[in-house]
């Protein structure tokens, strides 16, 4: 197991290297002219463009820039470790902002995930148990609705209802937990809900499908033949195998969401990573794009490792393979 984990961590490093290399290649290969010119003002003299290039580190060759990027990533830079440089766009060090924004995004994702698991799993299980019932049809219909509902629409609608019309919840924005836990919570509630509804719908459908598959398994019949109570058959035997695959799903979703809660962040004015990545990509802000890319790649790799370990813990068959 230890060796396996080490191997997977090395793999993570490789993924980060490859993904950043790809980001570099895309950035420099895509035909869009010289990024320096956009920070050199309206009538850029060649000298000014050169100044900008130097200040952005774009005066070096591309392989040299990539090498420097990797070196700083490993050894750190003047703003600490890992070295992520300064934003092309606002000239601010990337690292502190990455940390600040990661906190917002992680808050959003974790809260959302707890909520969607709390909704999606019971709904999926109950729908599977009451398959074909009105309850099942209503939940699955609702799930289909939330799966297909555009998140920005859902976000705007929820703001309209809960903030503008009812005034039950505060509007957009992020308040740090440290500043006021209550305000933090009330500000996060709608984003959590909007993010969670989509995923709760997906998870409910996945769990329902898994559970229906599991119900026909031989070992469930065995459990009944043993004379176990129906409750125990469901809660212990069906749920265990019905929900375990959700872990992999969750790990991948969480990893991808690290840079992927773009719309939710934008609608609710949470300055998180997704929103940042979007702006950075639009502005050709290479250091920011790279920083978020590194984080997302590492998050996806590490979370999938965690998922695999968890899976092994939960499913002994995997452990011995």
């Amino acid at each position: 197991m230890g060796r396996y984990i080490v191997r997977r961590l090395l793999w993570t490093v490789l993924v980060v290297v490859l993904v950043t290399l790809l980001t570099f290649v895309i950035f420099f290969v895509l035909p869009k002219g010289d990024p320096a010119t956009r920070f050199a003002g309206k009538s850029p003299t060649p000298e000014l463009i050169q100044e900008v290039k130097e200040s952005l580190g774009l005066d070096k060759s591309v392989p040299e820039q990539y090498g420097l990027f990797l070196k700083r990533l490993v050894t750190g830079d003047e703003y600490g470790w890992p070295g992520l440089g300064k934003s092309f766009q606002n000239k601010q060090p990337v690292r502190p902002e990455l940390i600040q924004r990661a906190q917002v995004t992680i808050t959003l994702i974790i809260g959302g995930a707890l909520l969607w698991l709390a909704i999606g799993i019971p709904v999926g299980v109950i729908s599977a148990l009451r398959r074909g019932s009105v309850l099942d049809r209503v939940s699955m219909g609702t799930a289909l609705f939330f799966v297909s509902a555009p998140v920005f629409w859902l976000g705007l609608l929820s703001l309209y209802v809960f903030w503008k019309q009812l005034g039950w919840l505060p509007g957009t924005g992020y308040v740090s937990f440290g500043a006021s836990p209550g305000t933090w919570f009330s500000h996060m509630l709608l984003p959590w809900m909007v993010l969670a509804l989509l995923f709760a719908a997906i998870y409910a459908r996945v769990v329902r499908g898994n559970m229906i598959d599991v119900m026909t398994e031989d070992y469930i019949r065995t459990a009944r033949a043993k004379g176990l109570s129906e409750r125990r058959v469901v809660m212990k035997h069906e749920l265990r195998t019905g929900i375990t695959p959700v872990i992999t799903l969750l790990a991948i979703d969480l990893g991808v969401l690290v840079g992927g809660t773009i719309v939710t962040e934008t609608v609710f004015n949470l300055q998180g990573l997704g929103n940042w990545l979007l702006i950075a990509a639009q502005n050709n802000d290479l250091p920011v794009t790279l920083a978020v890319t590194v984080l997302v790649a590492a998050a996806v790799s590490i979370l999938s490792l965690v998922a695999d370990i968890l899976y092994a813990v939960l499913d002994p068959r995997v452990r011995y393979q």
Partner: protein, 626 residues
């Protein structure tokens, strides 16, 4: 022109920040009520309260360091609230707002030595805010110019000061000082230029030239760094400035009131003495300002309506503008002012068929400018453009009243006159008024792929088809579109991706677009290639037409050196020459800036200099805030 934030109709389209594009001249302009005249909002304006402004993104492209920052709205913040340059403006709407007035200078001097020496006397008692807490002296202005001349700072419009004597040597490092800037005493500063610069006074109103305390700025010599430490010399300072420990470079931590990703908060500068200023320039009524990033543009305008914000930097979305403009009770809260920007279609003077002036004239005649403006949303969004630089840049001149060399009924295009012009062209071989040479089809037309630009593509395609020009439309996102048109080797024949705004209220800031000496292989903004020489064409590996390319370089030089009325007349003549003889553009719209005001705003004005709200003259009633 400085890049500006752009508003788009799409809810999240506003994230596409033109502010990031050094080349973009993009005024946010939506609908607007052109009848409102700014100024007083009716209710009594009093001191106090916090004026809150929402924006989808600050859009700073120089890290808010005044030396490098090239964003109109940033200039608005510096000149209205934060820093005091030698010269300045009244921060009001219209002609009064673009008339140069002294700020820290006692007066605006007449240049001597054939217009090459400018001697300014500084007012006494102008103080830096905390933690510097000392009088602003002439040396602090020198510091600003030294930063402009320091390569690592990346002064994006440093070229305005390259004709100061000694700037070149300072930049190259052969001199430790700029010999052309001297300070005989703490309240006198003398500038010497290598040639007469008629608009030098305007250039000294630019925020990069504002006073900088070397004890702080010397710690920050990399691009954008000083943006987190801007020391006030104006009525407001960044909140938390007083907590800045300026005892050494190491002890300084970014001022807490400015978080580039969230908020910029300003409070009163305790050292500001209104006696050194004039209320005509700055009333400084609110106790503070909060500029808040809100990534949800719809939410910004909902919050303004609810009284949670007072204003936004973003353009007012058309649905909101429509509702306000049709409601008598709300009408006054919607503001719309021309922001001195020109929307134009450029034609490449080096490429057939646009290397023939008759074709270019025909395009001007045939273009349905009204339909183009409708693509932007109609008259609320701008005035029909009929010449190069917007009228505000010709203060006092009546030359352009009713001027339209390509006038047509309802601005919908005049096909008959277009055909007549086309007949004079060699590209109309059968003289039927329609372009019929081989080069008349497959004409590469560049546009942006976002609203409202995409809505213009069919209008332009159809207008040109009427005179036989068949275009091949190429649409790209804002950034790549600018990069593409700015790369001469791409040989874009005609394009509508561009807009241009002033840097300061002088027509020279538009005429640089026609200076052949400014043509660059990449990052070029003279898209029409006006004034391109055969040598340049060879260098860029693009064709050079047999008939040559018209140039106005000499006219530009003449006007640039002129001052006073002579200067204004010179630019007027050049503008007309460009429209009638050179014809590199189809200017179709002078853009407008829109603002929506919250219920608590009791006083508001438009800053013609920055093309944004005049924060120096706003006021709020805290009792109406939510």
């Amino acid at each position: 022109m400085r890049p500006r934030k752009m508003g788009t109709w799409a809810l999240f389209g506003a994230l596409v920040l033109a502010g990031s594009l050094g080349l973009a001249a993009c005024g946010g302009d939506d609908s607007g009520d052109s009848d409102t005249n700014g100024g007083d909002n009716g209710a009594a304006a009093a001191k106090g309260g916090i004026y809150r402004v929402g924006t989808t993104d600050f859009g700073f492209n120089g890290g808010f360091d005044p030396s490098g920052e090239y964003l109109g709205w940033a200039w608005d913040l510096y000149s209205n609230l934060l820093t005091r340059q030698l010269t300045g403006y009244r921060h009001t709407e219209g002609a009064a707002g673009v008339e140069l007035v002294p700020d820290v200078a006692e007066s605006i001097p007449e240049p001597t030595d054939n217009g090459t020496t400018w001697t300014f006397t500084l007012k006494k008692g102008v103080m830096f805010g905390p933690p510097v807490n000392r009088e602003v002296t002439s040396k602090d202005y020198v510091t600003a110019f030294e930063r402009i001349g320091t390569e690592s700072v990346v002064a994006q419009y440093g070229f305005y000061y390259s004709d100061i004597v000694g700037m070149k040597e300072f930049k190259e490092g052969t001199s430790k000082t700029i010999s052309g800037i001297t300070t005989p005493d703490d309240h006198t500063i003398v500038f010497k230029t290598t040639k007469p610069i008629g608009d030098f006074g305007y250039r000294l109103a630019m925020p990069a030239t504002g006073p900088m305390p070397a004890e702080v700025t010397d710690c920050f010599t990399k691009a954008g760094e000083y943006g987190r430490y801007v020391i006030s010399s104006g009525p407001y300072m960044i909140k938390g400035s007083d907590k800045l420990d300026a005892t050494s470079c190491k002890t300084m931590k970014p001022i807490s009131g400015f978080n580039p990703t969230k908020q910029l908060s300003m409070v009163r500068n305790p050292n500001y003495d209104a006696a050194t200023d004039s209320t005509e320039q700055r009333e400084a009524l609110p106790d503070g300002f909060e500029f808040i990033i809100n990534t949800n543009q719809k939410d910004i305008f909902d919050k303004i309506e609810a009284g949670e914000y007072e204003d936004s930097v973003d353009a007012v979305p058309p649905d909101v503008a429509r509702r306000y403009s049709t409601d008598d009770a709300l009408k006054d809260r919607l503001k719309s002012f021309t922001d001195d920007s020109t929307n134009y279609i450029y034609m490449n003077l080096g490429e057939a068929p646009f290397d023939d002036v008759n074709v270019r004239k025909a395009v001007n005649f045939v273009m349905d400018k009204d339909a183009l403006r409708r693509a932007w949303g109609g008259p609320l969004y701008g005035e029909i453009g009929t010449h190069i630089a917007p009228p505000t840049l010709y203060p006092g001149s009546t030359e352009f009243d009713g001027y339209d060399p390509y006038a047509s009924e309802n601005n919908a295009g005049d096909l008959a006159k277009a055909q007549e012009a086309m007949k004079a062209s060699a590209y109309d071989t059968d003289k039927d008024g329609s372009c019929d040479a081989g080069s008349c089809s497959g004409v590469l037309f560049l546009n942006r792929s976002i609203d409202p630009f995409v809505k213009m593509s069919p209008v332009i395609r159809e207008s040109l088809a009427k005179i036989g020009i068949k275009v091949q439309v190429r649409e790209l996102p804002t950034g790549p579109a600018y990069e593409t048109s700015g790369n001469v080797s791409n040989r874009i024949q005609i394009g509508a991706n561009a807009r241009w705004g002033k840097d300061y209220p002088d027509a020279s800031t538009f005429m640089v677009l026609f200076d052949g000496r400014n043509i660059l292989a990449t990052g070029n903004s003279n898209y029409a290639l006006t004034g391109m020489t055969a040598a340049q064409a060879k260098e860029f590996k693009v064709p050079y037409p047999k008939g040559g390319v018209p140039t106005v370089d000499a006219d530009i030089d003449t006007c640039a050196a002129a001052i006073g009325d002579e200067r204004a007349a010179c630019w007027v003549a050049l503008d007309k020459k460009l429209m009638e003889e050179v014809v590199p553009w189809v200017p179709y719209m002078f853009g407008k800036n829109t603002d929506l005001l919250g219920p608590a705003v009791t006083k508001w004005d438009f800053d013609q200099f920055s093309g944004e709200a005049a924060y120096a003259h706003v006021a709020v009633d805290p009792s109406k805030q939510k």
